[in-house]
Symmetry: C5
Subunit: 334 residues, 5 copies
């Protein structure tokens, strides 16, 4: 598969070294600088914020003992979320989804490697929403410092999954708004915006399902890199992802309902239009015919010379109209 | 996930202490007052009727040895029904659904903890329908007094599930009424009310399915807190929930049928409207044309001076109409 | 769940005592009279034909060692078909479905208890179609006499399932008739009757599926009350129920097709109506305009004084009509 | 279930006795004549070509040790395809499907019994397509002679399954033809013929699925009557039946597409019809109005005496028409 | 099943002999020439580029020890992708899909046999896209040379699966283009082209699913011909095929959305057309009636002699029009 990756920002690396009573942030330029930390006594988080510097990635790949096929997965940004165990590390692909400016959610891939004393993350793009995690890391009393690398990886995934809820809520609001508009019929709701939302939901669904699998694999994994203590937390995220998925299912049905409502209301309107036309036409076309009859120029037309001819014609006009009205009323056309 | 909880009513606690030959109701203000009961000889039910007093909940959490993540679940009212086993207690999330005034069912979360000699319930809101259970508890000969805490928890869940049947019945009545209205065509049934009902059913379904799972987990559980003797009762509720679910499935299909019926009847009506228009227009437009012809002012129009010209025109008028009528009759248009 | 049972007929009991060379019918009034048979040397079938006499049922419940929850199931006529094993007996809930007078199938619940030497049946209502079984029981050479209680229970269920086939056939005939009517378009097939049939099928499906499960459980059961020898018979009924289910699936699709056909034929008709209107209107509206032009009263209108003015107008009238006709012909509008 | 069998042709039996170097055809009248072959040294195929002679079938049933319930299955022609193992033989129900004259496929049931040295087939009707097999049997070098009875049964089933492919191909051609007709719009494709084809496919599907199961059971069977050597052949038929099933699935979707295409093209046509009507009507109705105005007989109408009144009216007529044309053009109505 | 194969090009064979330090291309005419390579020290790839020369295939079949049924599968080009293990080799059927000139993807079957030291491929047609593989084979440092025959077979399948992505991308572009056209409404998007694309996707799906199974079987296989070392690569292709499948699922839904959008936009347009007609007709038909009234020739019509009669008529004309306009405006008809 051809790599469709777009490298947007220059690669930069942050390294957070931390232990129960220790915290230090380092700015790192080369892979070589990372080597001492690997054998250090502290845990560390190395975050690479872009895929641009392929040489760097190659060196990291060697340093962290990453399989070439796995590195290809890191570089290919159309990967499905997944969980893979290797001898020395665990490889996780996850997807960050967020709204920037636009109404369409943006997706960014993040690769997470969990090692004995490190978490290595490689982002597709520099944007992330991990700042609260960075802050919590600086807090000397937080759980993060005490727990192992797997717990740290959990906090990353947790914050990614939490973001899914925000997306869901935004979409729910959009659906509610669309529904109101269709019911109220005030604004001309564009059908295409409904279909766009459907596509977004479908897209999100394509991310959620494998994420569920990812977490399920984590739960089932017996890798020594994953401690028992982290299990309840993973269970928690797992439940969240199930909930996101259920919400997406409901949204899908809501969208289907929206389309149905839209088309139904179109049918109802069309029916109304047709009724208006039919009422006017069926009343006036016969009347016009009668008027046309007495507009004929035959030399012998006795009615024309009747004294009350014109008056009687009006009687017929009004009588017909009233009769028609009754008929339509009985048929509940208005 | 951000806590979306709305705390509506001030927290208050009731404590029902009971044994085979003992019953005592206590009003409790602080968590500390509960401590002696934990080591007492009687079983007790502690009911916290709101989530407002977070300090109290924290103290209870410590007192009853509840995991912080579990406490978060208690506070987050968007939890799915679930069943979780811990060393010292069993945690159940359930959803009470009821109609208050409005036509839309209200959902309220209730967290149930089953311990060795206690049941702790924490309600989202003070409203509940457990009064019959309170009454039965006062009855010295009821089974509740003799059976353990798990049986008491069962009675709570049983009364919650029984309420689902009421919801189902109400919805069934609404569906039947809507169907009658569509068939009878007397009132202008709003399509939006059908869609609203569909949403309610979908919402209920989202609660029922995990409740089934909850009960299935109870059945499979081998926790010593759950006695063998309670099993047939749990089987019974389990069957009820299956039945609720099947009924919901049927209702879903009924709603789909309703929408189809609505749209079909709209099509049938539109067809009728179109036929009326077409019959009137196809009869009178040609006649009007003929009348128009003899209303022309050409100097040389032989028919105008014919003695029976006008009479003949009427013959044509009536003849055309009758022919048309036959044509429509044969096409079964009326 | 509130018991929705309607007790229609007074309880009466028949007891058929039979063995390989023995047959005796007894009319029984009280539960106490049954006791000696339980320890007798012959097998017997006790049939209670209504749920009205709750006292009697309570006594039977004690006599036959039936769990209170099970007795509740017997009394609640909205039970799903099921199979439950107890220490001393096997409890089966089944549903008899039949047409009485009306076009809608009636459902009646029957509870079957299989004991060591007895079959106890409790019917919701006195109506049953077991007379052929009663007759076969009197026949001294029938298998029923030789086989055990489980075989007798099988014959009951077999005759219930056979009745399902009759229902299916009746429904198939109704579907075929509806289809013919839609295709032939002779009678005004009511859409609501199609939807009613759909509901009946759905209802039957709700019974069939758990019945399949019931039989599957019988097959898997290792209760000593069920003999190996009966297995091929149960397999046979099991296959029948699978077949009923498949037929119902096909009928469901047939109904969906019927609705589609109905709506399609409506569309086709509407199209025809519209074409008729359009052909007449597009031909005559322009002609009427032309006639209108020469009906104007301008003092200076040269054509009016042309000798062949009137004649030429007719040429235009006819020419336009013919041209239009060709146009519609080419468009295949008629 | 009441036997719905129709016995069309008188029972006749052929018996083909064969071994590696032996082949003999016998015409058999009574079951008794078959007995010596059962203990003979050669394999044989006994084919009963109708179900009419129930006495004969009963005798055969006794001779070949067939369970009464199994014999009932043979006689009931609404059996699903199935595979059943007994101590002394294997019972297979299969369905032959073929076109005779009509456009609707005909289904005929065939029961196959595989014994140690025989294959017994009982056909619902005399028609079969086994003549090539009869011919191959006469060929002294064919595999059939050397392989056992199970291989012979395989060849029968194989030829039945091969016939399914022909049915599928015929249906595919019909679908393609229908599709072309809808797209080309040349002939008036009847919607009912599409629905008829859908029914045929559904019917075939009802046969295919249990046939798959039949073969799956053969594969899993450990009966000594089925030799290992035949396994690859059964695998081959199994794959064929999977393929038939997949093709049927695709055809089902194709039919759904056909219906959608039909209805869409109907909508498109209706749209066109409406546009034609609207264009003509919106152009000429206002013009007719203007002509009507100057056809009024008011004594004081200044325009009537203008010298260029009539001319100006035509200017208005043509101007309005041209403006309308532009409007419709811009709206892409033609 | 009748062989539906079309043999398009004359058979020709290439044989690539390769080892870690060795590479030699041979042109082979007869099966006999291949024999020495089978016992040679190097691995080799034998590619037969057509199915025309059946004699050759028969000889190869004997030479490579291929079961007759397997050879039939090779010749029948309507095989489903599959994986079969034999004692001496592994048989894989795969499908190459590509676009040549036309808009419709072409499918070509390729049979792959993996032996101890060889890969034998038999193509339905000479066209393939394996040239990059041929080039890589000539590269002395490539992995292909070092790894075994199974790795080589993997590269073939990998390049086939990669091609599926291209097909998917092309289809995605087509879907996007169609969607834009429907939304923009500029060109008259043909519904039939949407349905054609749906068929192509369905067709591809029919290939993808069994390919997934093929790879799954490879993964599970314990054949000594498949080395452990190749496993991660197979896992990789497996993931790709899952991804292709997911994309196809999404495309299927997109197509369904396209059809819905098409029909919705048709409904919207029809609604607009109807509104235009109704507005014009409901305004002008009553006016024409009024004009018709005063065109009547009754001798006694007082209004005709009023001085401002004509003027007043115009007041009525304009007043009615304005009132109608307001009415339509309020109904949001334009």
């Amino acid at each position: 598969m051809s790599a469709k990756t777009q490298h947007k920002t220059p690669s930069s690396m942050e390294l957070y070294e931390f232990g129960e009573n220790y915290f230090q942030k380092h700015h790192i330029k080369t892979a070589e600088e990372v080597r001492p930390f690997l054998t250090g006594t502290h845990k560390f988080w190395l975050n690479v914020s872009s895929l641009e510097n392929e040489d760097l990635l190659k060196e990291l790949s060697a340093l962290f003992d990453i399989h070439p096929l796995t590195m290809e997965d890191v570089l290919n940004c159309h990967q499905r979320p997944k969980f893979e165990e290797f001898e020395n590390n665990i490889f996780i692909v996850s997807k960050m989804v967020y709204y920037v400016h636009s109404k369409k959610p943006t997706t960014e891939q993040i690769s997470i490697f969990i090692g004995k004393n490190y978490v290595l993350t490689i982002q597709e793009d520099a944007y992330d929403f991990f700042d609260p995690i960075r802050t919590r890391l600086e807090n000397p009393h937080g759980k993060m410092r005490k727990y192992g690398a797997d717990y740290f990886a959990y906090t990353l995934i947790d914050s990614i999954v939490d973001k899914y809820f925000e997306i869901i809520e935004t979409q729910e609001e959009m659906i509610d708004k669309m529904e109101d508009q269709i019911v109220a019929n005030t604004s001309k709701q564009k059908l295409s915006s409904i279909f766009q939302l459907r596509k977004d939901i479908q897209h999100l669904k394509k991310i959620i399902w494998p994420t569920r699998e990812l977490l399920s694999n984590w739960k089932k994994s017996e890798s020594p890199l994953l401690k028992k203590k982290t299990d309840p937390f993973i269970n928690d995220v797992y439940e969240h992802i199930i909930e996101v998925n259920e919400n997406l299912e409901v949204q899908r049905e809501s969208i289907a309902t929206l389309v149905e409502m839209f088309l139904s209301s179109l049918s109802i309107k069309q029916n109304e239009v047709m009724k208006t036309l039919t009422i006017i036409a069926t009343i006036f076309i016969p009347l016009t015919f009668i008027a046309g009859v007495y507009g004929m120029n035959f030399q012998f037309m006795p009615e024309l010379s009747w004294k009350y001819g014109y008056f009687l014609t009006w009687v017929v006009f009004i009588g017909t109209t009233v009769a028609m009205m009754f008929y339509f009323k009985r048929k509940e056309w208005f």
